[in-house]
Amino acid sequence: MDKKEYGELVKQTSPKTKEGKTILCAFAIGGLICMIGQAFSDVLALLLPDFDAKKIGALTGVVMIFLGSLLTGLGVYDKIGYYAGAGSVLPITGFANSIVSPAIEYNKEGIVFGLMAKMFSIAGPVIVSGVCASVVIGIVYYVIGLFV
């Protein structure tokens, strides 16, 4: 059996992701996380009538990041992620999870060379691509502004 034939055999034999189930799970749990965020936002708006929408948004973000970090520390978020997949990765709680989980993992190598050095090992690429994308979009926005 050569490499190509074997590759074909593996492709045919390998179990496939049950897409119907995983997409539904991601949608339901991801949606639930967003609903909780919305609920916090509404409650905060009610409690703090002096705050404008921008401030409420920022506060809600802080609450959700706290919850994501707390659930990661309690060892619950990875279990949610097992079922939710992208549904728990995409919301801001997933971003918190991606920073807190390496911080916990590498804390054993010390605060500086463990925790601090490694805590952005997973979230780092997201931040870098976010910064790069904002630079590109900023330039495009500026160029369009020259003509409009």
Partner: protein
């Protein structure tokens, strides 16, 4: 005596006189729980890190092996051992606890096969007593090969579960008072790479290496697959086992009921451990518990034990390399 390109048939009788095992929490809830000597009750085993826990697992296993064999450290010629971590930290660090020479070995998850074969060579060359020990730990392997434990990721459907535990065996040339399994020969495997590059599908990457070694062993020893009661691979998992059977059946007819895999034997289906167990401790834990005890009780007479290993690292995969795999076969008979 060398037979063919890769196979050695031993003239001297090499006895596997004793074994000792220590299993992790999930393994202790699995199919083979009644066969383990000791099951830990939390994954850190009272240590500050999982790496330290793996060191302690090995130390515990070797200590209980010495105790059950009633042998002092001075009577053991060498500890042959390996694991999956960089610089073989658990093996080397656990060996500092014993006044016994040490050789670190690496064939990824096939290390136990390499250790048994190397032990048999040393014993044929004059050594009297050798300890073979391999281990793995789910948490240390996850950290080195994948992601932090608490990161919420979804495992792909072909993923396997690294076994936590250590298994060790005492090989000796002096005949024990009781009947026990003997190593009668072994076949050293070649590194086989079929170009697969998915680090989440190791069973498929390793199956061709297992096939290559098994078929070389049968050919060079001049026996059929039915010579053995069981051909048992290390950690191919359900998919790898199926692929191996497909390849073997093209050569030697129906073998499915004769071929099994330690990774498929260790966990229960409902434990959500993917396609089965993996890791350097998978084959040693299953061999030193279930397989050894079944042989001692007469349930199996001849087995071909074929630990399998994927020789990749996290960096090799990121650099676009495919996954080279290896398998060593050891013939064990009672």
């Amino acid at each position: 005596m060398k037979k063919g390109r890769q196979t050695y048939i031993l003239d001297k009788k090499i006895y596997i006189s004793h074994t000792a095992t220590i299993a992790g929490v999930d393994e202790g809830k699995g199919r083979l729980r009644d066969f383990f000597d000791y099951v830990i009750d939390e994954s850190e085993f009272g240590c500050k890190s999982h790496e330290k826990a793996e060191i302690k697992l090995r130390k515990h296993a070797i200590e209980s092996l010495l105790k059950s064999a009633s042998v002092s450290a001075a009577d053991v010629d060498v500890i042959l051992g390996g694991d999956l971590l960089n610089q073989l930290v658990p093996s080397g660090f656990s060996a500092r606890e014993f006044d016994i020479p040490f050789c670190g070995l690496y064939s990824a998850c096939a290390t136990f096969g390499q250790a048994l074969a190397t032990g048999a060579i040393l014993l044929s060359g004059g050594a009297e007593r050798v300890i073979c020990c391999t281990s793995s730990h789910f948490a240390t392997a996850e950290r080195q090969y994948r992601y932090p434990l608490e990161l919420g990721t979804q495992p792909p459907p072909t993923a396997q579960w690294t076994v936590t535990g250590a298994g060790c065996a005492m090989l000796t040339t002096s005949k024990p008072k009781f009947k026990c399994p003997k190593i009668t020969g072994f076949t050293l495997g070649k590194v086989i790479d079929m170009g697969l590059d998915d680090p989440n599908n190791m069973g498929a990457a390793m199956a061709p290496a297992a096939y290559d070694t098994i078929s070389a062993h049968l050919r060079e020893r001049g026996v059929g697959a039915d010579y053995y009661d069981l051909i048992v691979t290390g950690d191919l998992g359900k998919l790898g086992r199926e692929l191996l059977c497909t390849m073997l059946e093209q050569e030697c007819g129906a073998v499915k009921d004769r071929v099994n895999d330690c990774g498929c034997m260790i966990f229960k289906d409902r434990q959500k451990c993917g396609l089965g167990g993996s890791g350097a401790g998978c084959s040693s834990l299953v061999f030193c518990s279930y397989l050894y005890k079944t042989m001692m009780e007469g349930g199996l007479k001849r087995i071909l034990f074929v630990p399998t290993g994927a020789m990749l690292s996290k960096d090799s995969s990121l650099q676009g390399e495919s996954i080279p795999a290896i398998a060593h076969a050891v013939a064990i008979e009672i």
